[in-house]
């Protein structure tokens, strides 16, 4: 059974005013437990609206969302529990920090869940450590931290709720390349350690190609495709036509193919590209060892 399923999900903003706009149109998809999914799409393609349905922040205009086989809107009073199961980290989450200390801020979610003191303490310390926040920083004000640290505190605030599905909307936006790699590495680590489902919305194809098992592509409010990374990038021409980037290395290999050098494989990471090239060179006897 899939952990999250949508049936004909449609959402229209400001229905009945001159500003009416359908942001998500008839989306059907099934996400399996334990997957790491990359969500991509142009600005305004409806990806942010889509993910806000997964934890019940938005109620679909029509259609259903099933979490572990149960319609999340079946019982309205239960919607808060859905939010503990599906954790959502918004874009620029550091702007939602408000507590006096980092510890209290991370503890906000777990406290709302009604956990006891020891459990909250354990979760806060553990997630802080997983995200590389030193223990002494837990007693500081979140407003004194650097941008990258604030971002990690905000992500920790959601991770500490230990949701079955963790959704991150552009977790690396506005960070420097190093900060980006660190945060993505920590998210990947979290995914490996807990085995929970993780969805990452990102504009960076390189990042998605490197980390995601599956990719969900939104185009003009509709679901363009939801498939494994290999299959999605095998449609790189369609994706580029949509105005989205494909990884640089995929473009290099597409160009090589046009010039007659065909590897017969879909390439989207540099490591894999290196492997293929070395193999090809060895076949020609140019290189004996690597």
């Amino acid at each position: 059974m899939s952990i999250l399923k949508t049936e004909n999900l449609t959402y229209t903003y400001s229905q009945g005013t001159p500003f009416e706009k359908t942001a998500v149109k008839n989306v059907n998809l099934e996400i399996e437990e334990g997957e790491l999914v990359g969500v991509m799409g142009h600005t305004g393609s409806g990806k942010s609206t889509l993910i806000q349905h997964f934890n019940g922040l938005l109620k679909p205009t029509s259609g259903r969302i099933l979490l572990e086989g149960k319609d999340i809107w079946e019982n309205k009073t239960e919607i808060r529990n859905v939010r503990f199961k599906v954790g959502l980290v918004f874009q620029y989450p550091e702007y939602q920090l408000f507590e006096e200390t980092v510890f209290k801020d991370i503890a906000f979610g777990p406290k709302n869940m009604g956990l006891d003191k020891d459990e909250i303490e354990r979760r806060v310390r553990e997630t802080a450590e997983n995200l590389g926040l030193p223990q002494e920083c837990l007693e500081r004000s979140p407003f004194e931290l650097s941008g990258g640290q604030k971002r990690r505190v905000a992500i920790a605030g959601v991770m500490a709720m230990e949701p079955k599905i963790l959704i991150l909307d552009e977790p690396t936006a506005g960070l420097d390349p190093h900060g980006r790699d660190v945060i993505l590495g920590q998210i990947k680590q979290y995914h490996k350690k807990t085995g929970n489902t993780v969805l990452i919305v990102s504009h960076s194809m390189e990042d998605i190609a490197k980390y995601a098992d599956k990719i969900l592509v939104m185009n003009k409010s509709e679901l363009f495709c939801y498939d494994t990374t290999v299959n999605v990038f095998s449609r790189s021409k369609e994706i580029e036509a949509m105005g989205l980037d494909v990884p640089q290395i995929t473009r290099v290999f597409n160009a090589l193919e046009q010039r007659g050098l065909n590897f017969g494989k879909q390439v989207y990471t540099v490591e894999y590209a290196k492997e293929l090239i070395m193999k090809k060179l060895r076949e020609r006897g140019k290189v004996t060892r690597c």
């Binding site: 939010r83 980290v89 918004f90 702007y95 939602q96 709302n112």
Partner: protein, 267 residues
């Protein structure tokens, strides 16, 4: 929830009312308000209603928006009606219970008051519905410009108003976003006792204040980068122009005003 706030909102359109010069629209609205309050007979209010509904029809703005703009003042309407009903003791007594006396005059006044307030809100909402905030403050600045002679900071005031109006939607959006983010962390916003509700506002208000200060600072820097130094010698991208239709609209309004004064004198 926050999307339901319609006061001060602008609904783009191409109607006659949208195209009128904002300066004339402000003057017409002022005359309209006076008109409603000097018309203290049935006929006066009928004329006022004809004017309001005529203008609403011309604006081509959906009627439900007007209903929506009146909804929030509903408690206030009832309060006014009850006060008038109880405290005005002109004419025949129709109903008496202990110290409460309902008189003919009381009923008359409270009905008049209700109609007046509803027309007032509907009519003045029309001004903001059909005029963009920028046009509105531009017009206000020009209308108030004679006050400059008295050293009144007209430009600064209108710049402040422009910025404030400009940031209303931004702040609403920001509040919405922060509320969603805190809800995602299990915050309960619209439930619980009054005490709990006030406490629940903290996770929303603190980030909102922090980001408002950040925005203010960024805006100030951006303005200084573009050498903003007050209103002296600034020219406008959009010049306000008045034409025949603006004077015609003003004339029609004055005619209505005249009709009300005439009705008052005759009765």
């Amino acid at each position: 929830m926050l999307k339901d706030i319609t006061i001060g909102q602008f609904f783009p359109g191409e109607s006659l009312l949208h195209r009128l010069d904002p300066r004339f629209k402000i003057i017409i609205t002022c005359i309209f308000v006076v008109m409603l309050f000097i018309g203290d007979s049935v006929w006066g209010l009928v004329i006022g209603s004809v004017f309001t509904f005529g203008a609403i029809a011309l604006s081509k703005i959906p009627n439900r928006l007007f209903v929506k703009s009146i909804k929030p003042i509903f408690p206030f309407l009832i309060f006014t009606a009850v006060l008038n009903l109880v405290f005005i003791s002109d004419g025949d007594v129709l109903f008496k219970w202990r110290f409460i006396k309902v008189t003919e005059g009381g009923i008359e006044t409270s009905v008049y008051m209700l109609v007046r307030i509803v027309l007032l809100i509907a009519g003045s909402s029309l001004l903001t519905y059909t005029t963009s905030p920028i046009a509105l403050t531009d017009a206000l600045e020009q209308l108030m410009s004679p006050l400059k002679k008295l050293k009144f900071p007209v430009h600064e005031l209108s710049m402040m108003m422009t910025i404030a109006l400009r940031f209303i939607p931004t702040l609403i959006e920001e509040t919405d976003k922060i509320m969603s983010a805190q809800k995602a962390r299990g915050a309960e916003i619209d439930s619980g006792s009054l005490r709990a509700r006030v406490k629940n506002l903290i996770p929303i208000l603190i980030p909102l204040f922090v980001s408002s200060f950040r925005r203010a600072e960024e805006l100030a820097t951006a303005m200084e980068c573009r050498c903003y130094n007050g209103g002296d010698g600034r020219t406008r991208l959009r010049q306000l122009k008045s034409g025949g239709r603006d004077f015609a609209a003003l004339a029609v309004t004055c005619a209505f005003m005249g009709a009300i004064i005439a009705v008052n004198l005759m009765l």
